[in-house]
């Protein structure tokens, strides 16, 4: 019995460790600046300061920040949000479309299976700031800097290795017999695609979609290096600009931060089954 208690204690500590930081993120954004400069830091909000959120959502209102005027960056959040949505969704669509076709080829048709998978794995590993530097030089010569095509295609292609890896494993798990049976039953190619393959690969596609979305949502490197126009700022870059330049006003940073973190958290929490499958795909069976 003591073992169970031991486990519960540790797990509660673990959960605290996991959840408390996000809790602070939210309450920082709801505190006035003068409350924020208390030592020790306030654990609970005594008077809620909603002005930052009001300014964010309505563009009106006065926010008392450390340096008067810096709160006017807040309405830029919506531009960044829109850009992040476009960026993430496009990457998901491209990954699912292109990734599923090639994964199917590899899984069913064994199209250069070993070679392609190895190449794909290698590609996944090489992606880093080290890749971004020659990529930047290349794209700037092609005048693709500061363009949607530049950042969306770059991000999509950087996520494709992961997508292919996961989807190939998923497709391999769908027994060939099902397709064979369908053909015997007189099902034609197209109908089979809709009624059998897509539903069966659904979980895999969702897993990939969520992972690609979350990764693209939080990607800082690509917008940082490949864009310099304010109109193309995505949320991570927007936050990065906040942390660097504008006086490290934690209230403002937390406001934007807590909202930015919300979609991925919700996705991960409610669709965790798929995410886990996607992340660990290939780890067990390989």
């Amino acid at each position: 019995m003591s073992k169970k208690i031991f486990i519960y204690i540790f797990l509660i500590l673990y959960l605290l460790w996991v959840l408390v930081p996000y809790y602070f993120l939210i309450i920082i954004s709801l505190m006035t600046h003068s409350d924020l400069i208390s030592m020790p830091p306030k654990l609970f909000i005594t008077n809620i300061y909603l002005n930052r959120y009001i300014k964010l959502f309505t563009g009106q209102g006065e926010v008392h920040s450390l340096v008067p005027g810096i709160e006017n960056v807040l309405p830029g959040f919506w531009n960044a949000l829109g850009n992040s949505l476009i960026f993430s969704f496009s990457s998901v669509i491209i990954n699912i479309l292109f990734g599923s076709t090639i994964s199917y080829s590899i899984a069913r048709l064994h199209f250069m299976e070993k070679r392609l998978l190895s190449l794909v794995l290698l590609g996944q590993i090489v992606i880093s700031i080290g890749l971004m530097i020659p990529l930047y030089i290349m794209l700037s010569n092609l005048k693709l800097i500061n363009t949607w095509i530049g950042i969306i295609l770059t991000n999509s292609s950087h996520l494709l290795p992961f997508t292919i890896w996961v989807l190939t494993n998923f497709f391999k798990e769908i027994p060939v017999e099902i397709e064979e049976a369908a053909i015997i039953d007189g099902c034609d190619k197209i109908r089979m695609l809709y009624t059998i393959i897509l539903p069966l690969s659904g979980p895999g596609l969702i897993a990939v979609g969520i992972s690609v979305f979350i990764y693209s949502w939080g990607n800082l490197m690509i917008p940082l290096i490949l864009t310099s126009k304010k109109e193309l700022t995505t949320l991570p870059l927007f936050i990065a600009n906040l942390t660097g330049h504008y006086a490290k006003d934690f209230g403002l940073m937390a406001t934007v931060g807590s909202l930015t973190a919300l979609p991925p958290i919700l996705l991960a929490f409610f669709l965790q089954k798929y995410m886990v499958k996607g992340l660990t795909a290939g780890a067990i069976k390989g």
Binding site: T32, H33, S34, I37, S38, M39, Y49, H64, S65, L66, V67, P68, G69, I70, N72, V73, P75, G76, S228, K230, T233, N241, G244, H245, A247, K248
Partner: protein, 489 residues
């Protein structure tokens, strides 16, 4: 290149050409509106017709100067070019708050739309302007100007000199703006841009803490500040004397400028060479570091604090002093930002007893000028002029940002001055401080490289109390001279 005229152009061709030209002329004349000759006289309240004045500067390194200005009582009649549809002004979300009012009034008066080109970082301004200039593009009309780009912009010719515009209007800039601000924006005899506001640090202090320790007035020298801090810290009145903004950033170079000149040093010697490694420089840098490690009146966290975070300890009631940008005048008295709102007062930045300097601050001026490749220079000028013509918009700087604007009239004419001083007790201090301020060497053309080097070297000294100051300063001067050599200036 001389063109060889083909011989034997037939007469018919000539006739056809003339007819076409006539048609074009008629059609064009139909569409192009005639330009009216407008005689404009400028009346700005407070400008005198006779002007002979003496300007005395207290910036270390310059001398007294007598300036005689010729009277320009009559504005030169001038034919303004046709109005464009819009002018493009560089701004960011922060600046825009004030410029919006100016733009509204401008649009109402002239019917020209003001479009703001927004940037995120101040540095964006610099790179974008240079990029546009290099590409010979005319996308801006009014460009933002930070004082450290003076040398570079002048060398490249990015800014349109404003002397002739002032003459055209019959305005003497020294009468309109604070004289120091005019000098700050003049380079080699040319007025390159104008400053819209006065931003520079002065002393913030917690009156209640000082009273508790038995002091009736704030310190006037840094040595006094250190002594007061030690007393208050010992009595447990405050946690430390002051936090210092010594993070590796441009603010650090500002701080060094302030201390260097407070101890009587200067950037260049008479020969124009870098020479801040003299006695004064050593004293200054030693003092900066001693405040943290020897006198212990500043927290060691100072090496990580930038010049805005530095205000927080004062607001939280942990420190008694802060020599900080006057932008904080507003937040200092705002209870939602500062817990000690009722107790914080301002005074002139301290000087030093060692060098007998009364007060010393550092300039952080930001202004705007006319882009030399703009196609609407006259109307861009009108936009700059609009601030001068409308002091009632200019004084909004006090409300919005908590800083004084740059117009002399709002500081001298009781009509404006009295309500401002009644509302903002700190106003006269900020205006007065302008007379006691030094600048960073923004006239060098290699400022970007120089400041990166300085930040790194200064930060190294401040991080480690064992680093030898003399050799560090010698190294900085050596590197600066090397850069000067390479830049050929």
């Amino acid at each position: 290149m001389s063109e060889v005229k083909p011989k034997g152009i037939s007469a018919s061709l000539v006739v056809i050409a003339v007819i076409i030209a006539l048609i074009i002329g008629v059609v064009a004349g139909y569409f192009v509106k005639p330009v009216e000759l407008i005689k404009e006289t400028v009346t700005v309240p407070g400008i005198e017709k006779t002007v002979t004045t003496t300007i005395e500067k207290t910036v270390a390194g310059t001398i007294e100067k007598t300036v005689t200005l010729t009277p320009t009582a009559i504005a030169i009649p001038f034919t303004p070019p046709p109005k464009p549809e819009k002018i493009v002004v560089q701004a960011n979300e922060w600046n825009q708050m004030w410029m919006k009012y100016l733009a509204e009034s401008f649009e109402k008066e002239y019917g020209i739309k003001v479009e703001f080109w927004s940037y995120v970082h101040v540095e964006d301004l610099h790179t974008k302007t240079l990029a546009a200039y290099a590409a010979k593009s005319s996308e801006f009309d009014v460009i933002g100007m930070d004082e450290q780009w003076r040398g570079e912009y002048f060398k490249l010719g990015v800014l349109e000199p404003l002397n002739k515009y002032f003459e055209m209007e019959g305005i003497d800039p020294y009468k309109v703006y604070e004289p120091f601000l005019v000098d700050a924006s003049t380079y080699k005899g040319q007025q390159l841009y104008v400053l819209t506001r006065i931003v520079l640090p002065f002393l913030f202090y917690n009156e209640k803490m000082l009273k508790e320790a038995g002091y009736t007035s704030p310190p006037t020298t840094w040595e006094e500040l250190v002594d007061m801090s030690k007393v208050m810290m010992n009595k447990g009145i405050c946690k430390y004397g002051t936090a210092l903004p010594f993070a590796k950033a441009e603010g650090l170079v500002c701080q060094f400028t302030m201390f260097l000149h407070a101890f009587g040093g200067r950037w260049f010697n008479e020969k124009g060479e870098w020479a801040f490694n003299d006695d004064a420089g050593i004293k200054a840098l030693t003092f900066m570091r001693d405040m943290i490690y020897t006198y212990k009146i500043a927290p060691t966290a100072s090496v990580e604090l930038n010049d805005r975070q530095v205000f927080d300890p004062l607001g939280a009631g942990d420190s008694a002093f802060s020599v900080n940008w006057n932008v904080f005048s507003k937040t200092a008295t705002d209870p939602t930002v500062s817990k000690e709102a009722e107790n914080i007062k301002v005074a002139l930045a301290p000087g030093t007893k060692a060098a007998g300097v009364k007060s010393m601050s550092v300039t952080g001026f930001f202004g705007w000028g006319i882009y030399s490749l703009s196609k609407n220079k006259y109307w861009a000028w009108k936009f700059l002029l609009h601030q001068i013509m409308h002091p009632e918009i200019s004084i909004k700087h006090y409300d919005i940002y908590g800083v004084p604007d740059s117009l002399k009239i709002t500081h001298t004419d009781p009509f404006y001055k009295d309500p401002i001083e009644k509302k903002y007790y700190w106003a006269p201090y900020a205006v007065e401080q302008v007379r006691y301020a030094a600048s960073r060497p923004g006239t060098i053309t290699y400022y970007g490289e120089w400041t990166t080097m300085m930040q790194e070297e200064l930060h190294k000294v401040l991080l480690d109390p064992t680093v030898d100051i003399k050799s560090a300063l010698d190294r900085m001067v050596e590197l600066s001279r090397e850069m000067a050599r390479r830049a050929g200036s």
